[in-house]
Subunit: 192 residues, 2 copies
């Protein structure tokens, strides 16, 4: 008999991302919004999913151009990420307002944010209507990182300091210290 | 001109989850595997997506029963989560091996892990074939949490201490301190 308490049918999960999804609008103006409903969804081809409401300006842009970039921020960029989430590209130029730099991707029809440490350039492979949100599955055509962040054992997480969005608490939290190597620490558990 | 360096078409993104997805097999035996390719994908109805390879035992179970639970672990449970990821339910009983308790959900045809702090009970709404991975979109029928973790301002993140999987580095990292309130800190950015 479990002692767990019901919270109802809600979107609570940890971690969820806080990714800046960048696009060009119909006139070629760069725009960016924050997406927490998303994640990697396939290894081959490498794909990432992002879900958007139809009412967003970015929904129109992705539908028209079938391209977007996922820009992954550092903790120091959390204010810009929240700004991207509370304003609409219909009304303001979010790049101009934040002073961040849109760079035209050479691979997909979307810009990426030059100042963000990690960028995924994506082309839409599937569009799934779910309900309030539409899910775009993007094939990851390339991943780009600041060269200073690339190490022999992966990416320099202490330098990047990525963060997560925590839905129920409506806050951002930093990704902190390592708890151990994956596909490794659990191998010792078997006979315990 | 960007100075970013190409890493190729790869599944790199931060954060990705390390969720324990629990199911019943064809004989009703509870099983659990670790999923890093997933995320919330719709607010109404509330939905979460998890992607699995067809070769997994859990793929068969979800296909047959159209139900699963997402069990979100604390940092103290990272060894069990990694264990779930490196072993197959075809060969061993992962609940028996870890001493964790499968509780039969009253809402969906799947068990949840009693010791994990947060549980999402899901019924499959869509199945999307992408490539190596198949994505199951599950409607979240209920979320359950340990009562001691529920506070007036959300869930007690210091007590839960959830963690993320970091793909390129193949490690787990804890979700740490707050960087500020979402839909709030960015409002001050506008005129900067």
């Amino acid at each position: 008999m479990s002692t767990k308490k019901s919270l109802g049918a809600k979107t609570i999960a940890f971690p969820t991302p806080a990714w800046a999804v960048a696009t060009y609008d119909s006139e070629g103006k760069p725009n960016v919004m924050t997406v927490a409903w998303g994640g990697i969804c396939c290894s081959k081809p490498p794909c990432v999913a992002v879900s958007l409401r139809k009412a967003t300006y970015t929904y129109e842009a992705i539908s028209a151009r079938q391209s977007f970039t996922v820009n992954i921020p550092s903790a120091s960029q959390v204010m810009a990420v929240d700004f991207f989430g509370v304003n609409s590209g219909r009304k303001i130029d979010k790049f101009a307002a934040t002073g961040l730099t849109p760079v035209k991707s050479e691979l997909v029809d979307a810009p990426f944010i030059d100042e963000f440490p990690l960028v995924l350039e994506c082309r839409v492979l599937h569009t799934l209507e779910i309900g309030l949100h539409t899910q775009f599955v993007g094939e990851i055509i390339d991943v780009k990182a600041d060269e200073s962040l690339i190490t022999d054992s992966g990416l320099d997480m202490e330098a990047i300091r990525p963060f997560a969005f925590i839905p129920e608490n409506r806050e951002y939290r930093v990704i902190g210290e390592s708890l151990g190597k994956a596909f490794s620490i659990g191998r010792e558990q078997k006979d315990s």
